[in-house]
């Protein structure tokens, strides 16, 4: 039987798992292999879909469950993430859960997720991000779509250290990675993959 190498948007960089002991000011990690699916509610079914999935429909409010994280994109639309199920099983699971209230579009291979952490995170993001990321405004669980370095980014605040996940279109992953590694270089940066 043929063996297939799984190719993800940044896999050509040859990154390896981090040691978790870095003293770098910024840590950037590619998060390949996530299951990603976009959910659309039918007209008038936003609350029903939110209830079926147990997620918030409020702007900028992420919901994290044991099995998935949901980030609202616009009224009646969310992007959902899970660590397994990129073979389509995550999409099918969501379809089953929401029933006739909406639609699910498989996006696992269309996005790259980059996790940024370290003491200098906000210094790096402030070079291009126009959102107010102060913890009084953007608490843990804050999420938003915005643009950085000309690239559309779906961002999610993971913890208060702070750590953010930045999700970009696969086709822009290289360009975005180039920008963010350059922007981080002055603080010392460790590059890795999950």
């Amino acid at each position: 039987m043929a063996e297939f190498n799984i190719v993800t948007p940044l896999s050509h960089l040859g990154l390896v798992a981090g040691k978790g002991t870095s003293s770098a000011g910024v840590l950037l990690a590619d998060r390949p292999g996530l299951a990603i699916a976009q959910v659309f509610a039918k007209k008038g079914k936003t609350a029903a879909v939110a209830k079926k999935l147990g997620i918030s429909a409020e702007p900028c409010v992420a919901t994290s469950h044991e099995n998935y994280t949901a980030l609202p994109l616009s009224p009646g639309q969310w992007m959902l993430f899970a660590t397994t199920g990129a073979d389509g099983s995550f999409q099918r699971l969501l379809e089953k859960q929401i029933g006739k209230n909406g639609y699910v579009s498989e996006q696992s291979h269309s996005r790259a997720a980059i996790r940024i952490s370290g003491a200098k995170v906000l210094d790096v993001l402030s070079k291009e991000c126009r959102l107010d990321l102060h913890s009084s405004v953007a608490d843990v669980g804050f999420c938003a779509q915005t643009t950085m370095s000309g690239v559309g980014v779906l961002m999610h605040k993971i913890d208060d250290s702070p750590t953010f996940d930045l999700v970009v279109f696969a086709g822009f992953a290289d360009s975005f990675w180039h920008w963010i590694t350059q922007a981080s270089a002055e603080y010392g940066v460790e590059l890795s993959r999950d």
């Binding site: 702007p59 900028c60 994109l73 616009s74 009224p75 126009r130 959102l131 938003a144 779509q145 915005t146 643009t147 559309g152």
Partner: protein, 95 residues
């Protein structure tokens, strides 16, 4: 730089938006005259002052936002959804 209050996302930078033109024109009926379609496609008031216009929040929620903006001062009076009827500010008589 404008700061535009998207009804869903909240106040965001202009750089997340694309200007999409005059929000006061509406498409003529299918059987309308060529003249009516010409006016719809090309003729604009181009006012000096308050103007109701479309801004597409393409870098955010991807929704269309209706904006009442002053073309002279760039002041934004009010924003809303496409269905909202937005009034221009009352004219204030100069003292």
């Amino acid at each position: 730089m404008h700061r535009i209050d998207c009804p869903w996302c909240g106040v965001r930078d202009e750089s997340e938006f694309q200007y999409q033109g005059d929000a006061t024109v509406s498409r003529p009926k299918f059987k309308a005259s060529e003249e009516a379609f010409f006016r719809y496609a090309y003729v604009r008031e181009n006012p000096r002052g308050w103007h109701t216009e479309w801004w597409h929040h393409v870098g955010g929620c991807r929704q269309w936002v209706k904006v009442v903006r002053n073309t002279l001062t760039h002041e934004i009076h009010v924003t809303g959804t496409p269905a909202d009827k937005l009034a221009h500010p009352r004219k204030v008589k100069s003292p």
